[in-house]
């Protein structure tokens, strides 16, 4: 058995009685009792997530922007204000998704990216390999702990606990950050709710966690993180897309910046080609109004052949099951059928955003 990596908050999870599981080689909390209650707390008040397994990577040097414009499918040249963030895919030569990430412009020729835990090692190796042709440093920053505080009360409960020089974080627009020499506070998240993601020195993480807890912010495990992001319509790497996936078939077309014809980026040619030819599949949202749960791998029947659920779950905020599914591109039907353990159940096709800021974004069945 291999030893699992642990975050600076591991002891805090143990104190809180977390059910710990192996997630991408890290021992992480799945839940602290009830995934359902944790989900609802984030929608109704505030919860906190240990996301220290995600990796911070700083990119700095005279050609930092040039490197990122070549490495990423979205265009960091869109970042005109210091502290602004951009969501992007990093593609391979074939146009498959190596990872999805958030990158902040931290002023001058410095950027900060946050990448997924499972892909971090490969991401950093790839970034550093590509960076050899540029005058730039790609520097992993494993010394940070990351805590996400999410929910309608997340900002008011977190602000008083931030260092005095960062309390202007309350004025941040979504997808923006402020920082000092130790802490970095961004108005970002993975739940569809308001909140912050805070990077701080590992040795200060436990202290902030306990203070947040005293302020009434409950710890939330990876289980609820998954149902929250699914309801919010946010993709999960490794589930909804991977290095074999054309991002245009994963609802990620909006993140691919083709406007500047002069900009070459890794994966541009195959993406432009598939755009010209038309993709064969597209990703939709599904709602199952009946009793049953759509899950990853559930077969979806359409008149043009089978589709498949990439992410599916019971949606605690909605009381029904929702999913993302990849289906044949030409299918326009508003109702399809899911094969759930041999039963054919009708599912509605919707835009894949189910809940935002606590509000359902889909019609719900009347009770």
């Amino acid at each position: 058995m291999t030893t699992l990596k642990t975050t600076p908050l591991h002891a805090a999870h143990q104190r809180a009685g977390a059910k710990l599981v192996d997630f991408a080689g890290w021992e992480m909390p799945l839940h602290y009792g009830s995934q359902m209650e944790e989900h609802k707390r984030v929608r109704e008040s505030a919860g906190m997530f240990d996301v220290s397994h995600m990796q911070v990577v700083d990119i700095h040097g005279p050609q930092a922007q040039a490197l990122l414009r070549y490495l990423l499918a979205n265009d960091v040249a869109k970042l005109k204000t210091e502290g602004r963030a951009l969501y992007s895919c990093m593609l391979n030569e074939a146009g498959g998704v190596i990872d999805d990430l958030i990158v902040y412009w931290t002023g001058g020729d410095t950027y900060r990216a946050v990448v997924n835990a499972a892909t971090a090692e490969g991401d950093i190796a790839h970034m550093q390999a590509v960076a050899k042709d540029f005058d730039v440093n790609v520097e992993p920053r494993p010394e940070f702990a990351l805590i996400a505080i999410q929910g309608p009360q997340a900002v008011e409960k977190t602000l008083p606990l931030l260092p005095a020089d960062l309390r202007n974080a309350g004025d941040l627009k979504p997808f923006s950050a402020v920082w000092n020499d130790k802490w970095f506070v961004a108005r970002t998240g993975y739940t569809g709710e308001d909140g912050f993601e805070v990077m701080l020195p590992a040795e200060e993480a436990d202290g902030l966690w306990e203070q947040l807890k005293d302020a009434g912010v409950h710890p939330i495990g990876l289980g609820a993180r998954d149902t929250l992001r699914l309801e919010a319509g946010m993709n999960l790497y490794g589930t909804d897309m991977d290095d074999q996936t054309n991002p245009l078939t994963a609802n990620l077309g909006w993140t691919i910046a083709l406007k500047d014809a002069e900009r070459d980026f890794i994966g541009r040619a195959p993406i432009e080609q598939s755009k010209a030819e038309g993709v064969k599949e597209r990703m939709v949202g599904l709602v199952l109004d009946g009793r049953g749960v759509l899950r990853g791998g559930t077969r979806i029947e359409t008149e043009a052949g089978d589709g498949v659920v990439t992410s599916g779950s019971f949606a605690p905020s909605l009381g029904v099951s929702v999913a993302f599914a990849r289906i044949p591109a030409g299918v326009e039907a508003e109702q399809l059928h899911a094969d759930i353990r041999g039963r054919k159940l009708p599912v509605r096709v919707v835009k894949p955003v189910f809940v935002r800021n606590g509000e359902p974004q889909i019609d719900l069945p009347k009770n």
Partner: protein, 130 residues
């Protein structure tokens, strides 16, 4: 450690059986089973009046995490199902041995009960599985 009341019988697939005074039996899933499943969201019990056969799948419980079959611990006719679970499946999590019961059976062969485990044997079985 999850509890397993002494007065019940148990299956290897984590169902429990309570012998009632009228000769019927009540069936549910154990505390250990609900803990493994996590929050339940749907319970599909067999219909009252249907016949079930020991060892075969007769119901489904579905949690946020996964769907799981429930195996009939005993053969017989289903005489009642717990209607409360349609709206409140979380009762199985909160009270697996009492309010969270699944269905009642009129056994066709009460002798089948002897083949089930007692609480100590079940505790050892759970221990061996983990």
């Amino acid at each position: 450690m999850s509890e397993a009341p002494k007065d019940l019988k148990y299956t290897k697939s984590h169902e429990w059986v309570r012998s009632e005074a009228d000769g019927s039996v009540t069936v549910g899933i154990t505390d250990h089973a609900q803990e493994l499943l996590g929050d339940l969201v749907f319970v599909e019990a067999p219909e009252a009046g249907s016949t079930i056969e020991a060892g075969t799948a007769c119901a489904t419980v579905e949690s946020v995490k996964a769907a799981s079959d429930i195996y009939a611990p005993i053969s017989g006719e289903v005489t009642a199902v717990n209607e409360d679970l349609a709206d409140s499946p979380e009762k199985v999590n909160e009270s697996p041995f009492e309010d969270g019961w699944l269905f009642k059976v009129e056994p066709s062969d009460a002798g089948q009960l002897d083949a089930l485990m007692d609480a100590d044997a079940y505790a050892a079985h759970v221990e061996a599985e983990s």
